[in-house]
Structure formats: C-alpha cells, structure tokens
Amino acid sequence: MKLGGFLLLLSGWGIVVAAFSVLHGGAVSGFILAGFGVEIIGLALILRAHLPASEDNG
C-alpha cells in the first residue's frame, strides 16, 4: 500500500507537469487539479500504510 501511495504521488505530479507543458486553455487548470487530486489519494494511502507500523513499534 505504501509503494502504491508513493507511485500515485509521482503519477499525480506527472499529470500536473504534463498539464501545463502540453495542454492549452481551460483544460490546464482542470488537469492540474486532477493531478493534485491523485496526489492526495496517494498521500492518504501512505498515511494509512504507516498506521500498523506505528502500532508494532509502540
């Protein structure tokens, strides 16, 4: 789950960079926000993945 989260973070950033380098007009903002949304999902996955690890170390 942790690895998946980090891959989603990188993918989201790829979408953001691709959005303003390839697209034009109103679509740029939409794709930047979409990429950012993917990053948020990735971040949520990473946060969840770290919960059990913390419990083991307690």
Partner: protein
Amino acid sequence: MNVEISLALCLVFILLIPLAIAGLSLINVGLGPSRSAAHFMTSSLCVVAVSLLIYFAFGGAVSQGLYSTPLMALTEPKSPLQPSGIFFHAMPWATVAALPALLMLASVAICSVIPLGAAGVRWRASSASLSTVLLAGFVFPIFFRLIATQYLASGFPRLPGTLDAGGSGFINVTGGLTALSITWLLGPRHGKYSLSGIPAAIPAHNAVYVLFGCMLTWVGWLGLNSAGAMLYAGSGAENSALVIINTTLSAAAAALAAAAVTRIRYRRPDASLIANGWMAGLVASSAGCATFKPTIAIIVGLVAGTLVVFSAEWFELRLRVDDPCGSVSVHAVCGLWGLLAVGIFAGIPGQFMAQIVGIATLLGFIFPMTYGLNWLLNKFSPYRVSPDGERQGLDLHELGADAYPEFVIHSDEFLQR
C-alpha cells in the same frame, strides 16, 4: 532607494539569519529530554556544518539559479540561468551575485535543522549528518531549481512561477517532509505509545529555552523573509518595512490563536503549543511576506496557529507519528498553508494554479525522493540508536557526558513500566 543601500540592507538581513538557526536549535533542545540536550545541540551544529559544506561543494551547482536574481538586474543586464559550478568555482564573488549564494547557504542550514526536531532523542548524530548530505546536496537544491528559480515555469510562459519569497516551501516544507520521512523510518520513542496505542505525554525539559528560542527565531526570520523578498520575489528594499510587519503580525496572530485554541481545548494555554503557534506564523508568512497586506498576514497567522494545534494532535493521536518538537506540523503543514495562502490572497491572475504546482511538486516529487533516499540510507547505516542508548539518554550514550552533569538526573518516570 539606491543600489548600494539596497545591497547593504540585504547583507544585514542575511546576517540575521543564523539567529533563526540558533532559535530553532534551542526550541528543539528545550522540547526534548534533559538527557539528550547536549546531543541535540551537537547534532544541530554538525548538520549545519555538513549542510554548508555539501551545498558549497555541489548543492549550489545542482540548484544553479544563483546568477539570475531581480537584485542583480538592478546593476547589470539580466543574465540567463548559469551554473555556479561545483565549489562555486564560477561564482564572481566581488559582484552582487554573491548575495544569493550567501542566502542559499543560510537557507539550507535552516532546512537541515528541521528534521532533528522530529527525529531527535533516537537519531544517531552520524546518521543525521549523512542524511543531511542527501538533503543539502540533492533534495533542497533540486526543489529550489524547479520552483524557486521558476525553472518549471520558465519553459512554459502560460503559467506564472510559484511565489515563495522567504522559503515556506523550499526551506520549511522540504525540511518538514524530510522530518516526516525520517520519523516514520525511526518509529516512535521507547515508551511513547502503550500497547493499546495510547500516547504518553513527555513534557518539554526546559520551556524557557523553547520560548527564548522563539524570540531568537523571530529576529532570524525577519532577516530571512526580508532578504528572500529582495532576492527571490523582486521586492525593493523600500518594501522591507511591509515584509517585517507582515512577518511579525503573522507570528503574533498565530501564537495568540494557538493560545486560545489550547485554552479552549485543554482548559489552560499550553506553552509548547503556543511556541509552535509562533513558529507556525513565521513559517506561513514566509511565502507571501512581500505580497500580503498586513490584515491578510494576520488572517494567515490565525489560520496557521489554529492549524498547528489540530495538526500536532492529529499526527500524534491518529497517525502515531512521534514528533517531539512538532516539526512536521509547524514546517510541513503550515509551510504548505503559507504557499496556498499566496494563491488565495495575492490577487495575481493564475497565481493560485502556480502555487498548486509548487505544492504538487513538493508532495509528488520531493516527498517520494526524500523518503526514498532516507529509506536507502537507513538500510546501509541504521538511523536508530540501540534501545539501551535511548533509555540511557543520547548525551551519555553518544557523547559520553551529560549536558547538566551537576544536576540530579531523574529516573525513567516517563517510560512504560
């Protein structure tokens, strides 16, 4: 204002920045246990030394943007980005181009101290120094090159660059995300969480250090934001009063917000969270210190002060991230808020999306990079001290002497029995 006065003012501002490093170190020491106080301070000095040398050796060459600054454009034609080279060998030291180099060295030193606050008490000093090589040599300069020098936006003129005058992003969020990565890799302190996951309160060993550290950091931050506004945001020296007022008002509002929130939630104000609130206000003010109006700076500070209390609680209780000094909440969370606030309040067309690009780069590229690099380093050189060393205190375990040898050393009253 003429160029000579601008340069002199900028130099004075840069010379104030080491006070921020001293203040941050003092806050970390005060919030940690007395048995690791000397270790905290020694580690701070070591990571600052490593960061300066590594940035000088090759970090500066990675970031490259040192030549093209608004201040330089006052005195000579604006040049395109040029590499300063390893060991700054291509740096014309007798020109104005040396000022951004000085500011970068001070910035990377602040950034390197941030992870210690979250990972101290269980992080070996040698590992901290090795990790700083990665931070100062790669993570910090790469983000600076991508965003602060507007490298990403320079090829794509449809989008303005991310505005981050005083380093909410490239100093604080970079340091804060590194702190989070290292805290996860280290795990919580021994005895911090019971088997059922209930966190133990481990109080600060010296609240006076913490609060005095806040005062020192304030002075340092005035220098950091003022110099950053001149060199990175193209703000004139005549705008310095506004930058200083914004920074101060934001910190004041954030400290009072933290005091009010802790008073309401815990029935009495909490000294360490008020200190964190003060710091959160400074951090959040950095990105937009040259563009905010003072009333906006107060709003930014109020949000930061409230955010830091809930964030610290959320990380400790829900996510079980053991961050003794609240570094992740103060620097990462409130730094991100500072970047976002510029997009919301600056009133520049397209700036909101530009700030989102900056935040997305921090979360989507810098965070995986710093986590991956530290994960790899942890495999080769384990970060965590032995359980015995942690129990004994890092002063005795790693340095062989206590910070307070003539005082009675208390027993393990905070450890689980």
